[in-house]
Subunit: 260 residues, 2 copies
């Protein structure tokens, strides 16, 4: 949708699961839509894999035989080390892993939004094997839909998003589950604070279970870090250390305000 | 501001700290504004204490001598057991504790908003000593600014908000602090998930330190509950239990969706 808006002369083609073909056609009446991946991939200039990360390797193997030697390949997966390990052997130096950091708790073509990528950070994860022309081309592609790109090694990306994206999601889900399990009556007196803090927990469970498992080690490390910080907070509270508590909250506020 | 909009014939009077008197006058040109609390309280029909909960008892003692015997008294504090214990001996059955569950991470008269209370839940915490006419009058007052009222015992309120309000704030602050302490580079790749989950951490540190300390026991209990749930999540992740993880996330999502 962002491409259609910003690069109207681009010929869009969609692979979709059989169940989603019809609604994809309705959303993009002038585009070619099919559930046959190889047919869609044939002679494409740029292929963008937007699917659960666990499904990516299988889909790539389905299409590699019909992909031209000049095609550039990228993806939109939320983890990168496992994706790069799976995709680079298939597409060699023409694959550049990407994680456009945009989205919401919604999913499906019904939630598509042409301005989703406007100003969003996109992390690119080239390796020593990546062709420099592929990196340039894929970088231009993500810029063309509105992203600002950053380059990291795939594992470095996964460490970073474990803290910036996966940990907040885990925390939101754990918080919602904890209150329901301990004192469900409290759910009747929530305000905007509870709603904001748990908003991402409304995201698709299947997709998120996969993300957590694909980035398991870094997410577990991040949860441990969070627990240590929780102990610091609880200790300040237990000892009634008002000055220490206020300093803790002030530092947290400064972190948050710098993100505005 | 909500009263001015919805009850225009009401004569508003404000007590403000000396430093805030001028900006309060600018915001309410036709109201009486003074830093002398007793002067403002004299002959008032309804007194609303909107100040840090730790300052409430002192302010109440300053004004009690000039408050009429027919005046009704309420407050807007975020904890209730300590407030009711402090205020009931001063104003007897004419005090009704209240917690309008509205607000944002902003503070100060500059952030006032006439529609803040529209549809918000207000918890009232009468005791066996509360006069029934006072409960009716204070209930009508909060309804008149747009709130929907619920009645709980003060300690029950504090248990509930420990989970619905104080725990989310603690979690937001701990999350922001944890990421900054462990891997600050991750703050450069945050998206809307991290921003939403930590939004309330931008709230005023002094006010929140006080709220946490006033409700210390229940907040510590809530943090323990959260830790148990975190262990459940971490265990699912560690054992690679995809079905269990997806079920966990699905239950969290259902809790969150029910709040829409």
């Amino acid at each position: 949708m962002a491409l259609e808006k910003r690069t109207p002369d681009c010929a869009l083609r969609f692979w979709a699961r059989p169940a989603s073909v019809e609604k994809t056609r309705r959303a993009f009446p002038s585009a070619q839509v099919s559930s046959h991946a190889a047919e869609i991939a044939r002679n494409a200039n740029i292929l963008v894999f937007c699917c659960p990360v666990g499904a990516m390797e299988g889909l790539a193997k389905d299409v590699v035989g019909s992909v031209s030697n000049e095609a550039l390949i990228t993806d939109a997966g939320s983890v990168k080390a496992s994706v790069v390990s799976a995709m680079e052997p298939i597409f060699a130096g023409r694959f550049v892993g990407a994680h456009p950091m945009a989205g919401s708790e919604q999913s499906g073509i019904e939630s598509a939004n042409a301005d989703l990528f406007e100003g969003a950070t996109c992390v690119l994860t080239p390796t020593a094997k990546t062709e420099s022309s592929a990196l340039r081309g894929i970088s231009d592609f993500w810029t063309s839909v509105g992203c600002k790109n950053l380059v990291f090694a795939a594992d470095e990306h996964d460490q970073l998003v474990a803290r910036s994206s996966h940990l907040p999601h885990a925390v939101a889900s754990i918080l919602a589950k904890s209150v329901q399990g301990s004192l469900p009556a409290a759910l009747a007196v929530t305000g905007s604070g509870f709603r904001d803090t748990t908003r991402v927990a409304a995201g698709p469970p299947g997709m998120w279970a996969e993300i957590f498992l694909e980035n398991r080690q870094h997410v577990l490390a991040a949860l441990n870090e969070l627990h240590s910080e929780t102990q610091v907070f609880a200790n300040l509270l237990e000892t009634g250390d008002r000055a220490g508590l206020e300093k803790f909250l002030l530092q947290a506020r400064d972190v948050r305000k710098d993100l505005e």
